[in-house]
């Protein structure tokens, strides 16, 4: 199941050239770029790992693309995303965030039902990937 998270998630995956154009746009807006990765694809997972430090004062997307490619080389089977942070006063939030890498095989989610008091049902989504230990979740078969 192809997960869709962040901006552009319904588009086909970007090529490096398209990523560069987006990074270029973000830098043109004065946003700071950072790279993050994770192997927990749950949509409510806010705690992605930082790849290196956020890149402030970049002039050119080549440096950010280099970081992305280094991260891909080491974690080819994780989700990697780029965040563009808008530090302007009154904004101070991530303005753009999109996936630049995903595992070759994405097992998807199942729906868990929990029977609670009074015959009520609680629903939760559970990623099949999480059945394996961290760091080993997208190991090639």
């Amino acid at each position: 199941m192809r997960i869709t998270q962040g901006t552009f998630s319904y588009l086909p995956d970007f090529t490096d050239e398209e990523i560069t154009s987006q990074l270029d746009y973000a830098l043109g807006q004065g946003w700071a770029l950072s790279v993050e990765f994770t192997d927990d694809p749950h949509p409510r997972n806010n705690y992605w790992d930082m790849w290196a430090l956020p890149m402030f004062a970049l002039a050119d997307p080549a440096g950010a693309l280099r970081e992305i490619n280094e991260c891909r080389a080491i974690y080819p089977d994780r989700y990697i995303r780029v965040n563009a942070y808008d530090s302007r006063r009154g904004r101070q939030t991530v303005a753009l965030s999109f996936l630049v890498n995903r595992p070759a095989h994405e097992p998807g989610f199942r729906l868990d039902r929990q029977e609670a008091a009074g015959r009520s049902i609680r629903y939760t989504t559970h990623s099949y990937a999480l059945d394996r230990p961290a760091g080993d979740r997208y190991a090639p078969k």
Binding site: S21, M55, A57, L65, N69, Y138
Partner: protein, 325 residues
């Protein structure tokens, strides 16, 4: 993207360079020229805007003949490369890492700034900004601190020029565990692998740079252009001084011109003479004395616009340079 393997770094298209492969949307020159076509190089030169930059360089920077010659050569090479690419004669991007050697105040930083602009205009650099750093910005203070620090600086310099002032401080021969070596290794790696994205310029005093290159042969061999900045002659220093004054909207009175010349002739022989920087400092102090002199006169006679612009011999004669000898 789903094959999950690392891919090679995509070669970024160079903006403003129609001959770059895989340029965005509409390539300006899609097909190669036929073998029997002739190209008007003069027109190419004008359209690239090289002349403006070379002329501005000639106008704004006094002296530095060998440096200007080398810059014209580099501009010519890049221009010819562009024309050659239109015939399909690609030689790969030339290596443009440089070392600037010379005494303090000979214009190394200023030329680096111009160089960045020129390379941008020629389509070699995408941005053409200058990132000035010293050892402190590259080398960390504890184990594992250096690499991220150096990488951050290199990332910032991508698409422009990285200017490393007093580069020889990176290497400390007396301490083999110095973290500077780590920064040098990273620099070498980037200078080799990201030649299209980054131009590194190392600057410093000639003799110490020689020692630095002698102990880092890999660095020396990756630097194609060694530019030596000569000291200025007295005439050139006077010309620099006049240029600086006209930028600040001041002028020298007729007598002051001779005094200024005498001042520089004496200052040149004294220790810690820093060429153009000393000229600038001298003029800053003359401005102080000029302001003080006008106020001390107590407003009689009333000052004219010319009084506010004109420096007199007295503004220079009060200097230590004249009193100490």
């Amino acid at each position: 993207m789903s094959e999950g393997t690392p891919r090679p770094l995509f070669a970024l298209p160079v903006r403003g360079d129609p001959a770059a492969p895989g340029g965005d949307q509409v390539p300006a020159v899609p097909e190669l020229l036929a073998d029997d076509v002739t190209v008007d190089l003069a027109a190419e030169r004008t359209s690239a805007g090289v002349d403006e930059i070379i002329e501005a360089l000639d106008r704004d920077l006094v002296g530095l003949r060998p440096v200007k010659d080398r810059i014209s050569e580099i501009a010519a090479l890049l221009l010819i490369d562009r024309v050659r690419a239109r015939f399909g004669l690609t030689a790969g991007p030339p290596s443009l890492h440089m070392s600037f050697t010379g005494n303090p105040g000979t214009g190394k930083t200023t030329v680096a700034l111009r160089m960045a602009r020129l390379l941008h205009r020629m389509g070699y650099l995408r941005r053409g900004h200058l990132v000035c750093v010293t050892r402190d910005d590259l080398v960390g203070q504890y184990i594992g601190h250096t690499a991220p620090k150096t990488k951050e600086v290199l990332n910032r310099a991508m698409g422009g020029v990285l200017f490393i002032d007093e580069a020889y401080y990176l290497y400390r021969a007396e301490n083999e565990r110095d973290y500077g070596q780590e920064a040098i290794e990273l620099l070498l790696q980037y200078m080799e692998n990201y030649r299209d994205d980054l131009v590194v310029i190392m600057a410093g005093y000639a003799d110490r740079m020689d020692t630095f290159f002698a102990s880092n042969p890999g660095m020396s061999s990756r630097i194609a252009h060694h530019l030596d900045f000569p000291d200025y002659s007295l005439d050139e220093l006077v010309a620099i001084g006049e240029l600086m004054l006209s930028e600040r909207r001041y002028r020298l009175s007729d007598q002051a011109q001779q005094t200024f010349r005498d001042y520089l002739a004496r200052r040149m022989t004294q220790p810690r003479f820093a060429n153009a920087r000393s000229v600038r400092n001298a003029l800053e102090r003359a401005r102080l004395r000029h302001a003080n002199r006008l106020l001390a006169a107590g407003g009689s006679p009333p000052s004219t616009k010319d009084d506010l612009m004109r420096l007199e011999p007295a503004d220079f004669l009060a200097s230590r340079v004249f009193t100490s000898s």
